[in-house]
């Protein structure tokens, strides 16, 4: 089925009280293309997907996909789940364990003649490179293959909207990017809204044309990944976007000519940050990515970076491919370096060290 060029946007504007402490109140528009629904776990992302699919009924609001109204509390419309034509890849995939891959994919094609079912399954299986697995059961194939089967099962029905709930988070990066490439290829021919839920800012940067950031059931910000995540305006957004260091600071002087401000963090530490609309004495927050901080074993000189501070190593821990170093330089900085870097610097607890931060690595939050 051909989708119109503009008509196929999805508009969501719903409210649902899920418990005494948690109320969902989310509104956004997803045009054809990838929209990343981004937020920490428990922020209500999955509930939004379930409401679009019809698995959760909001208390009030409207859900419109293309020209069809799925839900509208003001007119009492609530389209049954099985008439919504939604493609949904669940976080747990939910492949039917007692059926072959073939039967799983064909499940949503029940109404079609058997010959057409076979043709459609064969075509989608080829697009997702699972043609050789059709007679196997989900328990007998790999995690990446199951992921492909789940995508194929959702897409073979020609859905009006595709909902993906952290579909790739369990897979390694190489497999992730190959599956995404196949999905993008499919999407070239089917311009429908794709809502992709994730809590990984790496995925949010890599996949999305648009990001909708959610926190505690509310939409915090909407825009391109670059706009929303590189220039966070609030503390929650900063920590969601991967700014591991967020400091409370006071502006002590402005230098408009140089385009910088000096801020005091804690008692002893000062940071030079880009100029913003703040006056001396204003309280601000400064956010710095752990990966944007340099370390030096000896007194550095001749650098363009304006923030160079002596400190001591508090501790060194390994998290997957990253070494996390905490450094006390008046305040505590979290720094990410590679295992190779850690090795060559011979970081040890208590060792003296220099922290180097470019002015433009410091983001000033409201």
């Amino acid at each position: 089925m051909d989708s119109g060029p503009l008509g196929m946007s999805a508009t969501v504007d719903i409210r649902a009280r899920l418990s005494a402490a948690f109320t969902l109140d989310a509104g956004f528009t997803a045009p054809p293309g990838f929209t990343i629904l981004f937020g920490a776990s428990g922020s209500g992302k999955t509930t939004v997907l379930r409401a679009i699919a019809g698995l959760t009924r909001p208390q009030s609001g409207r859900i419109v996909v293309g020209e069809r109204t799925f839900f509208d509390s003001s007119t009492g419309v609530n389209l049954p789940i099985n008439q919504r034509r939604v493609g949904y890849v669940f976080q747990q995939l939910a492949l039917f364990p007692h059926m072959t891959v073939m039967a799983n994919i064909a499940y949503g094609l029940d109404a079609l003649p058997a010959a057409e079912q076979r043709d459609r399954v064969a075509a989608i299986a080829e697009s997702f490179h699972i043609g050789g697995l059709l007679q196997r059961r989900p328990g007998a194939i790999s995690g990446g293959e199951r992921q492909r089967v789940a995508l194929a099962r959702a897409l073979v029905t020609d859905p009006a909207i595709l909902l993906l709930d952290e579909p790739l988070s369990a897979l390694d990066h190489a497999i992730q990017s190959r599956i995404m490439a196949d999905l993008r290829q499919w999407h070239q021919q089917h311009r429908i809204p794709v809502i992709y839920v994730t809590h990984s800012h790496r995925e949010a940067y890599g996949l999305g044309e648009r990001v909708v950031v959610m926190n505690h059931g509310k939409v915090l910000a909407t825009g391109s990944p670059h706009d929303v995540l590189d220039h966070p305006t609030e503390r929650v957004l900063a920590s969601l976007a991967g700014f591991e260091n967020v400091f409370d600071a006071v502006v002590i002087e402005r230098d408009a000519a140089a385009g910088v401000m000096r801020c005091r963090v804690e008692e002893a530490t000062q940071l030079e940050v880009p100029l913003a609309q703040h006056q001396p004495g204003d309280h601000v927050r400064v956010a710095i990515r752990a990966g944007d901080i340099l370390l030096a074993a000896e007194t550095p000189h001749g650098l363009s970076a304006r923030n160079v501070m002596p400190g001591r190593v508090v501790d060194v821990t390994r998290q997957g491919p990253t070494v996390v170093v905490r450094i006390d330089a008046g305040c505590t900085f979290v720094v990410h370096i590679t295992p190779g870097g850690a090795e060559s610097m011979q970081l040890a607890q208590g060792a003296p060290i220099w922290v180097v931060i470019k002015t433009y690595s410091c983001r000033v939050l409201a």
Binding site: A53, I81, A94, P97, Y107, T157
Partner: protein, 224 residues
């Protein structure tokens, strides 16, 4: 050996299991998935035979089947004969008595089917019926089988309720357990022993078949 009693018992148990299967599938489905608040009420009533002495249940059923009760009168008008001390009465009583043995394992099996599988089925366009027959039921086969076998075995083994409702009419209500009891009362120990032994062998065979044939449940194990 009392072949007449054995044949009667087998017939009774088979009919009761079949009736229970038909009743228990929708009932267990409703009890498992209904969001109504008073499901616990129905659950308690269904489970009553588990704790009630068979004589108590038998007594009330006897009252209900008597010619002075609406049920008894309606049955008499419809069939021209009474319900108590007949094979049909025995079937009804056995269905009531064995109901929890069918409903509970089936409901437990329905409940352990992953909810997201049913969600996925609905999202893929399936009706509730299709979701039940393609997803819920196939993934609950073991529980359903257990329910059928348990209700069959429980019917074969019942005694108190047959005594209350059926009496001991050869070929009509005289089941194996009643036959053994009568033999012992009449000091015919050899015959009682023969019939008891046959019952023991039968029960063991049924259980061996069920546990021996039981397949491994479908799992999404770690990838090979």
């Amino acid at each position: 050996m009392d072949w007449q009693a054995i044949w009667l018992t087998a017939r009774l148990a088979a009919i009761v299991s079949a009736v229970l299967l038909l009743i228990s599938l929708p009932l267990a489905h409703w009890l498992t998935f209904s969001r109504r608040r008073w499901t616990f009420l129905v659950e308690s009533i269904v489970s009553l035979p588990l704790v009630l002495p068979p004589t108590v249940l038998g007594f009330y059923l006897l009252m209900a089947m008597g010619s002075r009760s609406p049920l008894g009168r309606w049955w008499t008008e419809w069939t021209g004969q009474g319900l108590a001390f007949t094979f049909e009465g025995l079937v009804i009583a056995s269905v009531c008595y064995s109901l929890p043995f069918a409903v509970q394992p089936i409901a437990a099996a329905f409940a352990q089917v992953d909810r997201t599988l049913r969600d996925a089925s609905a999202v893929l366009g399936a009706s509730r019926w299709r979701t039940f027959f393609r997803i819920t039921l196939p993934l609950s086969v073991e529980g359903v089988l257990a329910g059928v076998v348990l209700s069959f075995a429980h019917t074969v083994g019942e005694f108190g309720i047959v005594l209350m409702i059926g009496g001991s009419i050869p070929g009509v209500t005289r089941t194996v357990s009643i036959a053994i009891y009568d033999d012992v009362q009449a000091l015919r120990y050899a015959e009682a022993n023969q019939t008891a032994l046959a019952l023991l062998a039968f029960s063991l065979t049924v259980l061996l078949c069920v546990y021996g044939l039981r397949r491994k449940p479908w799992t999404l194990g770690p990838s090979a």
